[in-house]
């Protein structure tokens, strides 16, 4: 794993010859060479999940689409990051997400700074072709500084991961199956009563939508600051 022994491989991304470390993911290699692959659940500094399926890419010799975030590069690999088929699937993923929750941008704290919203523009979503599900979901404002609005949650698990991997508190987790799955604090206790939460606010700032926000924010006011994450990871790696 150390840089001393890491091998370099060459591969093709969208016809372009690129080199990458053998432990890199396709996503890392693509970004390094300026190739954009859309992602939602992925966030630099957190472990990869492979859940949002936006970063699916085509690979020569593989009948299946592969997630760029969790697939490692290999010598001679030929990756195609965009095609009509992939574009359609990416659009449908976003449409399914919009139909699943209750995303009303006009009244959302994250309007204008929302990753889901901007991803919809990126993938060219003009309308939602599947029926809206209008689920009945709850809001927990019991914490003195933060609120979780489950209506806007897309289950990317960034809050769960940052709390466990970076803060080390593991306040967040998931309960339930399918569309009934939801993020919870402690054993599904109100956030404000959590014994484990350190009120660090990392979860709020990694949340891609307006699901987690600071109570001081009104419509469009919730700006998320994530620069701490790569910085923390870098510092920790240096210490190690």
């Amino acid at each position: 794993m150390s840089p001393m022994t890491a091998q370099v491989v060459t591969l093709k991304i969208d016809g372009q010859d690129v080199s990458a470390h053998e432990n890199d993911s396709i996503l890392t290699a693509a970004r390094e060479h300026g190739v954009f692959i859309p992602t939602l659940c992925n966030l630099d500094g957190l472990t990869t999940l492979g859940a949002c399926r936006l970063c699916l890419v085509e690979m020569a010799g593989s009948p299946k689409l592969l997630p760029a975030c969790t697939t490692k590069v290999s010598e001679g690999m030929e990756v195609v990051t965009s095609s009509e088929r992939i574009a359609k699937y990416r659009r449908m993923v976003i449409e399914l997400l919009f139909a699943e929750g209750n995303h009303i941008c006009a009244v959302c704290v994250s309007n204008g700074h929302c990753e889901l919203q901007s991803m919809a523009q990126t993938v060219g979503m003009t309308h939602v072709s599947v029926p809206y599900l209008y689920p009945k979901r709850t809001v927990d404002a019991s914490h003195e500084r933060f609120t979780v609005d489950h209506n806007r949650c897309i289950l990317c698990m960034r809050c769960v991961r940052v709390c466990d991997e970076i803060e080390g508190a593991h306040t967040w987790d998931v309960m339930g199956r399918g569309t009934a799955a939801k993020v919870i604090t402690d054993m599904n206790q109100p956030w404000g009563t959590s014994d484990t939460c350190t009120s660090c606010g990392k979860c709020v700032h990694v949340c891609p939508t307006g699901s987690l926000f600071e109570k001081t924010a009104s419509v469009s006011e919730m700006l998320k600051r994530r620069h701490f994450l790569p910085y923390l990871t870098m510092m920790r790696e240096e210490v190690e």
Partner: protein, 552 residues
Amino acid sequence: MNPEELRKIAITQKESNAQYKHQICVCTAAGCVSSGADKVKDALNAGVKKLGLESTVQVKGVGCMGPCSAGPLVRVKVRVESEGEILYKEVTPENATEILASLDTGKKIDKLEYNTDVPFFTRQKKVVLENAGYVDPDSFVDYIGHDGYEAMIKAYTEMAPQDVIEEVIKSGLRGRGGGGYPTGLKWSTVAKARGTRKFVICNADEGDPGAFMDRAVAESDPYRLLEGMAIAAYAIGADTGYIYLRAEYPLAVKRLRAAIRQAERHQTLGNGICGTTFNFRVEIRLGAGAFVCGEETALIASIEGNRGQPRPRPPYPAASGLWGFPTLINNVETLANIPYIVREGGDAYGSIGTEKSKGTKVFALAGKVENTGLIEVPMGTLLKEIIFDIGGGIPDGGKFKAVQTGGPSGGCIPDQFLDMPVDYESLAKAGSIMGSGGMIVMDDTSSMVDIAKFFMEFCMTESCGKCVPCRVGTVQMHNLLEKIANNEATEDDLALLQELCDMVKNTSLCGLGQTAPNPVVSTLRYFRDEYESRLVRKGDNGSKPQPEEVKA
């Protein structure tokens, strides 16, 4: 206990079995127990005691005999002049005296007799289930008396791990959990993988609706499963095994737990198995009712104590599995094949079945078929033989419409494929899969839209919620199917359904999502008219046809 001592037990057990004049076997698998087999056994035991027949008549509980719908089943073996076996069906405790009285005369009780000279019995070939219905699942000694652990002793004392893998490769055995991945190849991959520890996991999280093959094996012959695992562990170099067993099978849990204790006591599990230096321990982990935990990476997460959610592969468990160590995951039926392969040789096993699908396959016949129950047939048996000869056809003069194989990941096969041999390739060509072995037969009263809706509802509620396509896509597909079933959908809805099928299949993270659309796709392929006949035509307000435009 060394091999010699085990052989001694085997001989003693065979002798003690032979000293009884008559043997009465009562099925004590879940199917028969639920229709009262325990009471029948108690009544037989009481009758034997009352008549003082303890030294001549043996009453024993055995595993599944097959025709579950005719339970409780009792098999009587009499030795009057010549030896003979009689199978009795739907036996009640009141029949006990009658059965005991009939023993010495050798006369059959006609009203209870289940004729075994029918295709249901004669067409079957038992490998996995060779002991089921004969061996007492609660008795270690009885398993030994039925040549149990012979294969394990042979592997441990006469074969190198590589030889065992060679035999499995030669046998052509493919994974019976559904995927059909060559077992020998999987074993050799794990054997070659580098790791300070290795694990064997038995996937007994059988969850397909209508499937009960693995339950029958675990309930009827638990020691065979342990033997298969111990051989696998030896071949790949694992020291610990886990049986991931669903908690909904309480009888299997009880029997496997008892079997592990007994096997440890007799040193066929644990440290220094059979006097060798090989150690192998087995633990049971109970599933909490999540279908997705049958997916190998979710199963591993669950054993580790995490939420049972799959992760993307590669890395495959063979390289990085349980706690990051190389892990072999095989299904119950796959492992139950192993003792036969080692004992009889890979070539003997490979001579059964077709060229690409070797050996036998256990199927759980359910639905609109005369003989529901458990069957084991050679691969390549024709579909019509299974349904009409062995299964006895459709009851009440009904007409065959389709058979659903492979559970929620599989598809519906219509009547034009009745002449098809049942093997991995043919089923895939027909748009279904072998799956774990559930076969649900449907007659012409079944609506294909309803079937698709049923399976979609299953996938929707069993989706773990991790990836978007499966979590939300299955809900959308289910809603559309409901709309079609309620005669409220339009052509656009059907088109959207198809689009979602394609998307969910190609973008989902694990097998559950990737195969969830299969029941819809296969029913649309063969029964599209059933979908279309329920659509509301454009310009049609649901009830009345619109009058043609009148020219002024």
